[in-house]
């Protein structure tokens, strides 16, 4: 018979190898070890005998590119401190307590958070999707803690931030505090002053209107009179965030996404006259943008010395300072506010709140962590590692003042987003709306037809939830 690939000896060897691996796997069971890989015994501060926190372990979940050890900033190349810095400080302030971090990437965080909450895996959670989890009764209401703690006040936070993260509990009709603002975020308009200078166009006003953007974008589309390069007046994403660009345009003329917070009370207004006007404005803007906005293309030179786009709509603060300075664009990049309604509100409310899991067995210590995470010490740490602070005192930090021309408008944008926030943006209606904006941008439907369809499908989704 033909000699095959396998024989008995090979099979026995494979079996032994398998057994060896199984032993290795079994040895790798480290459910009792912390992410930091450190022992429970902290060297931070003396352990007071009979301390309130003796032997208590707090599990804190964080989302993003955090590291326990010091690491290198991929843009600046500077060393950034690891989370051990926070761990040591908190354990020093709370003798006897031990902090363990559960770190997860942004991708898949919703599924993992859901799983962790069902089994009480962590005590404290960073939770952008707070509305869904609060409604399931998985989060601890924070109002009692705030009322009982004389040392703590919600006045420390930038305006609108506490309000913005309020959510409905499983049995409540009114919005309650389930999370404290942890990381800030905002949307604003960024522009390149050099291109404005080249074209002889006046810089954007601090609070531009849709007409102003349109007029200036039109002027700066064509061959740059100084460099001879092709320039475009404006750019915006026609895919992932197009719904937010449209909503902001509608807000600029006193439109809104709709009303209600509880799903059974939500009513969308996706095809209101303001929304239609907003989408028509976006279609006009498309004429002054490079091709490919629907597939997130055409902005490749943005934030470089060869930039060819004058105005960038719906931008966020992530890496804004690092990229601007790394490219030597500090004299070119400027920020204007997104469109605001008559009440001075407009634009996406974003960021991350921090919450306590209902199943936590260390709720008091978890509350201590919440206060610590929103203190100057921790917020400064997170700011230095790339996140954006949520507290007012950040405006006084030297490291913020140094870049005030960029960061000042970002803080202003953070304090004037549209309320109530687009809590449905993590659900199907956002994707329905995005898809119909894309249909309009690609000429499949006109603005009215596209938004009528979005309204119909979103309403049906609500009814069938």
């Amino acid at each position: 018979m033909k000699k095959g690939l396998f024989n008995k000896h090979a099979f026995i060897l494979s079996g032994l190898l398998l057994l060896l691996i199984a032993v290795l796997v079994a040895c790798s069971n480290s459910s009792d070890t912390s992410s930091s890989g450190q022992d429970s015994g902290s060297d931070g501060g003396e352990t007071a005998e009979g301390s309130k926190w003796d032997g208590k372990t707090l599990k804190v979940q964080l989302i993003g590119d955090f590291s326990m050890e010091d690491s290198t900033d991929p843009i600046t190349g500077e060393k950034t401190p690891g989370l051990d810095t926070l761990k040591e400080e908190f354990e020093k302030q709370h003798p006897g307590a031990t902090v363990e971090f559960i770190l997860m990437p942004w991708e898949g965080y919703t599924e993992k958070t859901q799983a962790m909450l069902t089994s009480g895996e962590a005590d404290v959670y960073q939770m952008p999707g707070i509305a869904d989890f609060a409604a399931q009764g998985l989060l601890e209401p924070l109002q009692p803690y705030i009322e009982e703690d004389s040392e703590f006040s919600t006045d420390i936070f930038i305006d609108q931030q506490v309000e913005g993260w309020k959510a409905l509990g499983p049995d409540s009709d009114e919005l309650e505090i389930y999370g404290l603002p942890f990381f800030g975020d905002a949307r604003f308009i960024t522009y390149d002053k050099k291109l404005f200078d080249d074209w002889g166009v006046e810089y954007l006003s601090d609070h531009p209107t849709m007409e102003e953007i349109k007029e200036k974008a039109e002027k700066m589309t064509g061959t740059n009179p100084v460099t001879g390069e092709q320039n475009y007046g404006v750019w915006f994403r026609g895919d992932w965030s197009s719904a937010f660009t449209l909503l902001n345009a509608a807000e600029g003329i006193n439109g809104k996404w709709g009303t209600g917070f509880a799903w059974d009370e939500v009513e969308f207004e996706f095809n209101s006259p303001e929304m239609v006007e907003g989408l028509n404005w976006m279609l006009d803007m498309q004429e002054f943008a490079p091709e490919g906005i629907v597939s997130n293309q055409g902005n490749e030179k943005w934030m470089t010395k060869d930039n060819n786009i004058a105005i960038m709509l719906n931008t966020g603060p992530a890496n804004l300072v690092q990229q601007t300075y790394a490219q030597g664009l500090e004299d070119r990049i400027a920020i204007a506010q997104e469109f605001k309604n008559d009440e001075g509100k407009g634009g996406l409310f974003a960021g991350s709140p921090i919450t306590i899991g209902k199943a936590s067995e260390n709720k008091d210590l978890a509350w201590e962590w919440l206060k610590f995470a929103t203190s100057d010490f921790a917020q400064k740490y997170f700011y230095e590692t790339g996140a954006f602070p949520s507290i007012k005192s950040a405006l006084e930090w030297e490291s913020v003042k140094e870049y005030e021309h960029l960061l000042g408008p970002v803080f202003e944008a953070m304090s004037t987003p549209y309320m109530p926030r687009y809590h449905w943006a993590a659900a199907q209606p956002r994707f329905i709306l995005t898809s119909e904006i894309e249909a309009a941008l690609t000429g499949k439907r006109n603005a009215q037809e596209a938004l009528d369809k979005a309204q119909k499908e979103s309403t049906e989704w609500l009814e069938n939830r």
Binding site: L18, I21, V25, D65, S67, S71, Q327
Partner: protein
């Protein structure tokens, strides 16, 4: 004589043309990979992605690879992925070979129904199974270990189906001859059919390897300790909130993560071809 020479000349020209065409195709196919490696070595690519794309880095530097290997987490994640992948592949392929053989050559009650049940497992995606599986492993205190990644592939509908199809191709007369010689079922499997299963086993190893190596969502959910993270989790930890990432770093990560897959392919490629060729064998 002249005709022979002109024939040789024509053959040479034909060969040269073929070579040039293949070379062009090769370059086109390799360009994205070369570009990926190149961007990984470009210090400025994190600040802005090189545009238009260039093969020669603007500022040649090992900076991005330095970050990738920083703190030893990449090496640790490779070790973790290797443990998980080798174990789950070994278990999955072994059990699938046995099950496939049983479904193909076995004679037992409810065989068809049981096979349909196995096939049904192909119809349920991971997402709806996520929470029940998570709760199951939580109830036996196996979360934050490698076991939740190793045990579920024990029953792999796709691999069992592939094995059954393969063994269906092999003649029953081999089994009958071994039975006449007095061999039992296990003896028949290990002595007769198992040595012939090399090509399908290699194909299954490749498939199972890729599934296991690339698995993201399930390891993400069950592993909390960063020291246990597999390569895909390590890669994802560099992504930014809005789904974007830094060009140079991403390409450096992609380069180091794709290397094991390429190595496995290079070693097992001939078995895939063999397996495809063998599937045409008639069971006469």
């Amino acid at each position: 004589m002249i005709s022979t020479m002109s024939h040789k000349k024509a053959d040479k020209i034909t060969t040269s043309v073929k070579f040039v065409i293949l070379l062009i195709f090769g370059v086109v196919l390799m360009a994205p990979f070369v570009w990926m490696v190149s961007v990984g070595f470009d210090r400025t690519a994190n600040i802005s992605m090189p545009f238009p794309p260039r093969l020669i880095p603007e500022e040649l530097s090992g900076f991005n690879y330095g970050i990738v290997f920083e703190n030893g987490r990449l090496i640790q994640s490779y070790i973790n992925s290797a443990i998980v992948t080798i174990t789950s592949v070994a278990i999955g392929v072994s059990s699938s070979l046995l099950a496939g053989y049983a479904f193909s050559k076995g004679r037992f009650k409810g065989k068809k129904l049981l096979f349909i049940v196995v096939l049904c497992t192909l119809m349920i995606p991971m997402e709806p199974r996520l929470i029940p599986l998570y709760k199951l492993f939580n109830s036996v205190d196996l979360l934050n270990t490698f076991w939740p990644l190793i045990l579920p592939p024990l029953i792999n509908g796709m691999l069992i189906f592939l094995c059954k199809q393969f063994f269906d191709q092999l003649p029953d007369s081999l089994r009958e001859a071994a039975q006449i010689d007095g061999a039992g079922e296990f003896k028949i499997f290990f002595s007769v059919y198992f040595p012939l299963a090399g090509p399908i086993a290699a194909t299954m190893v490749i498939l199972a390897f890729i599934w296991s190596w690339n698995d993201f969502l399930w390891p993400l959910v069950v592993l909390n300790n960063q020291d246990l993270h597999t390569v895909p989790l390590y890669l994802a930890s560099f992504s930014l909130e809005n789904g974007t990432s830094l060009g140079g770093l991403t390409m450096a990560l992609a380069t180091v993560s794709v290397l094991p897959i390429i190595v496995v392919y290079l070693f097992l490629q001939r078995y895939i071809i063999q397996s495809i060729a063998l599937s045409g064998v008639k069971g006469e």
